[in-house]
């Protein structure tokens, strides 16, 4: 297993000359990554959270009629002791009418204005990747979708339809241990993983997301609608003793633009928990309203600071859940570019004053050359309590490193 990592790293070092010599008809990268806990976790003896080598192939072909995009990672995951293919994109983009774009197939979908806080972007995320030190790219999980975008003079309409439900890469204990409030203890790799029921693959269980966007003066404004399921198994069926993904509908709005010498944004969303609209079922999350305001600006040359304030308010409180009615989050992101922009230092911090919860995400990356990028970083969980969002992961504070060769 370790040997395969070495072999792939060697391959990564050899590939550049080969790639240049052959002028390959595709692009991509080879990456080796490792990361481990730096604190003790009682649920497991294994410290390694990340140990993998991946080879990404990126092929773009275009004709006047269509653009074809294929991008896939072939990876060996040393933690899972498994090799797999992760198809990130496999789609065809068409413009059947002057005012209509269609993208059909596997694709990454993103909208909304938050930075690592998602309100109206209910497309699948991979939180596990995010917390073990993979590239930010892997926070977004691809969807198998049909996306249509119609462009009017004043209004743009996006509709994305995903016929089959795709769950988030939620924390299930297989790698990162978490606090289970029902059992009142931490669950980790040595415990049975959460094995929730996925929604049946029926027409009615598809996910539909839509956005209307347009400019009002200098402001980009959007309205959003979503109908599908919670991305995480937040429901519990007591009869069968299994977790499941309750149905969710969301309506929202956002605005973004230049203000006060920086960029300001605000976003709102109303989550309607369709399986518990009255909020009287303790096994299903209640409806919520979520609101976000953010502002980013340049501190000095090549250095920016962006702050966000976020509120998640549970409706029909008290809920049987374990959170406060109002959960406040404050975030700050510092990004600095140094050494002719070859060194990037960034620190993202979450802090919740209502839950005494915090999380830090320091990252440093250096471009050794146009091809080689070295990244080191950490995920630091600082929550004061076991039952808060980041506090539950407190035994998983980790550091990681990655070397990537792009071609």
């Amino acid at each position: 297993m370790r040997r395969s990592l070495v072999a792939l790293t060697l391959a990564a070092l050899w590939l550049p000359s080969a790639a240049r010599a052959a002028d390959l008809p595709f692009h991509g990268f080879v990456e080796a990554a490792a990361g481990a806990r730096v604190v003790n976790d009682d649920t497991t003896d294994d410290d390694f959270l990340l140990e993998e080598a991946r080879f990404q192939v990126d092929i773009l072909a275009d004709t006047d009629a269509a653009t074809l995009q294929f991008r896939a990672d072939f990876l060996h995951d040393g933690v899972e002791e498994d090799s797999l293919v992760d198809v990130r994109e496999a789609n065809v983009a068409l413009t059947p009418l002057d005012s209509l774009d269609l993208k059909v197939g596997r694709q990454v979908l993103t909208w909304g204005t938050g930075d690592l806080i998602f309100l109206n972007d209910l497309f699948p995320k991979d939180w596990q990747s995010f917390f073990i030190g993979r590239d930010d790219e892997y926070l977004k999980k691809p969807s198998d979708a049909v996306r249509g975008t119609w462009f009017g003079d004043w209004l743009t309409v996006d509709v994305a339809w995903m016929p089959v439900f795709e769950a988030d890469g939620y924390i299930s204990g297989e790698r990162i241990s978490y606090w289970n409030p029902l059992a009142d203890r931490r669950f980790g790799p040595d415990d049975p993983a959460i094995d929730p029921d996925e929604p049946a693959k029926s027409w009615g269980n598809g996910t539909l997301a839509a956005r209307l966007s347009g400019s009002v003066g200098q402001w980009e404004t959007e309205l959003y609608g979503f109908r599908g399921h919670w991305g995480q198994p937040k429901g519990f069926d007591p009869d069968r003793g299994t977790a499941y993904f309750p149905r969710l509908e969301a309506w929202g709005a956002s605005v973004r633009g230049s203000a006060l010498g920086g960029v300001a944004n605000a976003e709102f969303s109303w989550y309607r928990s369709l399986d518990d609209l009255d909020g009287d079922d303790p096994t299903v999350p209640n409806s919520q309203v979520r609101a976000l305001a953010g502002f980013g600006h340049e501190l000095a040359r090549d250095q920016t600071l962006a702050v966000q304030a976020y509120l998640e308010r549970t409706l029909d409180y008290p809920d049987a859940g374990f959170t406060d009615q109002n959960r406040w989050w404050l975030t700050a992101r510092y990004t600095g570019l140094f050494l002719q922009q070859n060194l990037t230092l960034s620190l993202f911090g979450f802090y919740s004053p209502t839950e005494d919860d915090a999380y830090l995400r320091p990252v440093a990356s250096y471009k050794v050359s146009d091809e080689v990028l070295v990244t080191v970083g950490g995920n630091v969980f600082l929550g004061a309590h076991d039952d808060t969002f980041f506090g539950q992961f407190s035994d998983n504070t980790n550091v990681y490193g990655r070397v990537r060769y792009s071609f």
Binding site: F29, D101, T110, S258, G261, V263, H297, Q341, S369, D370
Partner: protein, 263 residues
């Protein structure tokens, strides 16, 4: 239209060959230089290549396609920059709506995340993609930000000294421009720091006629303090392609206009 105007100007010169040309005012020179450098045609497409050499002689390369459209000559503009190289920024798109009365609007599209990012940075005197050229060197420095003085007039050049009106927003105390009298293209720029030392120099190394527009096709920017420099070359230059305003919107961040971007 512009060609016609140039032809007309040529005719006018032929008609009165003996008459002493009225000396241009400084403002006229500055305006003409600004239009010649950054507003040729109504729009333009080019493939740019930057070779960045650091003080230790290591090189890095950037290749991008740049699309420009003028909303009005000497005024607002749109820029669309699609990256081909290096691999880690391939397919990323950087877009600018250059404004006259307020900060520019800047966006970055990250294809792997399908993310349209609004860029908060507003400082135009920062390195463009890690090169020795600044944003302002690529898209033009607003002429109203400096006072201009004609220091010297040689047979070939107007030599202008430019002093910032608000020195706190820039890193230089002044800069001198050598403007070619025939094309009105600045062919050399030297930036002077507070101690009177030239620390930064731009040199045009090649000018070609493209569709009747004299065009800089090779320029060098040197950081004289570190010894690092960047050479930028342009190829496949085309003017007046009838670029639609729509290209400079979110739609084309997600769906780059292949017609102009293909090699």
């Amino acid at each position: 239209m512009r060609k016609f105007a140039i032809a007309l100007a040529g005719l006018a010169l032929l008609a009165w060959p003996a008459g002493p040309a009225r000396a241009l005012t400084v403002d006229e020179i500055v305006n003409k230089a600004n239009l010649a450098s950054y507003y040729a045609g109504d729009d333009g497409v080019a493939r740019a290549r930057m070779v960045i050499t650091d003080q230790q002689g290591r090189t890095r390369e950037r290749v991008f396609t740049i699309l420009r459209k003028d909303v009005e000559d000497g005024g607002r503009q749109y820029y669309y920059v699609y990256f081909h190289k290096p691999g880690d920024v391939r397919k990323m798109v950087f877009m600018v709506h250059k404004n006259m009365d307020r900060d520019d609007d800047r966006w970055l599209y990250l294809p792997a995340l399908d993310l349209v990012k609004r860029i908060a940075a507003s400082d135009k005197r920062t390195s463009f993609v890690g090169s020795h050229f600044f944003y302002e060197d690529v898209s033009g420095r607003s002429i109203g930000e400096d006072t201009h003085e004609l220091k010297e007039e040689t047979a070939e050049h107007y030599v202008l000294e430019n002093v910032p009106k608000d020195p706190s927003t820039v890193e230089f105390a002044s800069y001198t421009l050598w403007i070619d009298k025939k094309t009105f293209l600045p062919v050399k720029a030297e930036y002077v720091d507070g101690r009177g030392k030239v620390y930064r120099r731009m040199t045009v190394e090649k000018i070609e006629d493209v569709d009747g527009f004299p065009t800089v096709t090779r320029a060098r920017m040197e950081d004289l303090n570190t010894g690092g420099y960047t050479v930028m070359t342009f190829e496949k230059i085309r003017y007046n392609q009838g670029l639609s305003d729509k290209i400079f919107t979110e739609r084309y961040l997600r769906k780059p206009p292949r017609k102009y971007i293909r090699r």
